[in-house]
């Protein structure tokens, strides 16, 4: 086991992690002088901070996150999209039709209708209102084709890997295009059936075994094998 991994430990809510005066990052809480885990996951104590990498949990929108959503309904001048969170993403009509425009519902339906899948960015998110999403960028907008897969949002960083290593190796060996949303939704598109199935199997594998070491090697091995 490498040196940095020895500091990681499986924790459950309430488990004591350390008493060291470190910066609290995520899924930990200070009770007196003791740092305690608040989620099921892996504790990660670094030189100056402490956190728990969660293995389960819901997606909370963060500004600049890229997410995949499904349009649910149009209300007033906005679309409301299911972004796999406890909050709905609000996409303003002005974001699509330009500032100062007031499109009719039918115009809005023509552009994006209920059930359409969009790739969007979280433009604003606070505790008071529903998170604002935006599709005003070249890479963003409606997704026309592909296979929609849902995994736990907590496992998305593992799917992407360090500097995108995991996702790149899956894409390279299957010729698939994978659009990853931080909210746990993924769209996989591939011309070859075999490649598509392999990419889906790799994503499922990451979802199931995110807490294990050497996952990248295991996924590579699976991708190199002939069958799915």
């Amino acid at each position: 086991m490498k040196k940095f991994e020895s500091k990681k430990r499986y924790v459950l809510p309430g488990d004591f992690i350390t008493t060291a005066p470190l910066r609290l990052q995520g899924n930990v809480v200070l009770e007196g002088k003791r740092v305690i885990a608040t989620s099921i996951g892996l504790s990660d104590v670094s030189a100056d901070s402490v956190r728990v990498i969660p293995l389960t949990g819901v997606y909370l929108p963060k500004i600049d996150d890229l997410v995949i959503g499904t349009i649910q309904y149009i209300f007033g001048n906005s679309w409301f999209a299911d972004i796999n969170s406890c909050y709905q993403g609000m996409l303003l009509g002005q974001d699509v039709f330009g500032r100062g425009s007031y499109p009719t519902t039918s115009e809005m339906k023509e552009r994006l209708d209920n059930g359409d899948i969009i790739y969007a960015k979280i433009a604003n998110s606070d505790r008071q209102r529903e998170p604002l999403i935006s599709i005003a960028d070249q890479s963003l907008g409606k997704i026309d084709s592909g296979e929609l897969v849902k995994i736990s949002p907590t496992k998305i960083p593992r799917l992407i890997g360090k500097h995108g290593s995991m996702i790149q190796s899956i894409e390279a060996s299957t010729n698939a295009t994978i659009t990853v949303g931080q909210n746990g939704l993924i769209v996989v598109s591939c011309d070859e059936t075999n490649g598509l199935l392999k990419a889906l199997a790799a994503i499922r594998m990451v979802d199931e075994q995110a807490h294990l070491v050497n996952l990248t090697d295991k996924v590579k091995k699976m991708l190199e094998s002939d069958g799915v």
């Binding site: 991994e5 990681k8 430990r9 499986y10 459950l12 809510p13 309430g14 488990d15 004591f16 899924n27 809480v29 009770e31 305690i36 608040t38 989620s39 099921i40 892996l42 969660p54 293995l55 389960t56 949990g57 819901v58 909370l60 406890c86 909050y87 505790r127 008071q128 907590t154 075994q209 807490h211 294990l212 070491v213």
Partner: protein, 245 residues
């Protein structure tokens, strides 16, 4: 309380209880986490003869809207006994007792869950008692706590619960149905072991001040035993194929 069924031998001369346990022994407890696919988190507990299923949904939108809190999420608990859970059919409508137990379980879980991270949402906990054998509120609380952790709701600690009480003039751990009916006292305790805080404490019956203290100590011992089983259930689901720690 107070010896309604005189013909039941609650404690024999060797200190063995009606179901063969010692005075400081709990019934067999098994917990399984993540048993329901459609719920955000779930757990199934068998606590002696009790069989309880817990399902957690959320955080999700609050309906009716006026119940939502702009500062924090809210916790809602529904404890329900199936009509077939007891010997004689129980009417499925919520009874006074079920409403009370829903309330005490909710209040026992609230100090543990950190819902301030999810304003304007609700976390719903559904507890279905499939088979009842005394001590269902404790068993339901144990299952609810595991299901909440399974759902990924941030928690300061797991809440574990176990009852202690008095029967045949002896203090006993984990009161079963006969001991509850014919015994002298029943004291369900909910406890957060890592924080050392009691979140549920009820007492039905009469105890002296000294007995009361000893009863709490005994109950906390039971809670700690249940806590290990809760942790193992979560470890089994999340870390079973792992090789760390």
């Amino acid at each position: 309380m107070g010896g309604r069924e005189a013909n039941v031998v609650l404690l024999d001369e060797n200190g063995i209880r009606s179901d063969g346990r010692k005075v400081n022994e709990t019934r067999k407890v098994t917990i399984k986490a993540g048993v329901l696919k459609n719920a955000s988190g779930s757990a199934y507990i068998e606590f002696g003869g009790n069989k309880i299923l817990a399902g957690v949904f959320g955080p999700r939108d609050v309906h009716p809207k006026h119940m939502s809190n702009p500062d924090t999420g809210i916790l809602r608990v529904r404890y329900h006994m199936e009509p077939f859970s007891v010997g004689e059919r129980k009417k499925p409508a919520p009874s006074r007792r079920e409403i009370e137990i829903s309330k005490v379980i909710k209040e026992a879980l609230e100090p543990a869950v950190m819902l301030e991270k999810f304003p304007r949402t609700a976390v719903d906990v559904f507890l279905e008692v499939l088979q009842a054998d005394g001590g269902t509120r404790c068993a339901a609380l144990d299952a609810a706590s595991v299901a909440l952790a399974d759902a990924g709701i941030p928690m300061r600690d797991l809440v574990c619960a176990c009852a202690s009480g008095k029967a045949a003039d002896a203090l006993i751990l984990d009161v079963n149905n006969e001991e509850d009916q014919a015994g002298q006292a029943d004291m369900p305790i909910g406890y957060m072991p890592n924080l050392g805080k009691i979140t549920l404490l009820q007492l039905d019956g009469v105890l002296t001040a000294d007995e009361y203290k000893k009863c709490i100590e005994l109950g906390l011992e039971g809670c700690k035993q249940v806590y290990e089983i809760q942790k193992n259930a979560l470890r089994e689901k999340y870390f079973s194929s792992g090789d760390k720690d």
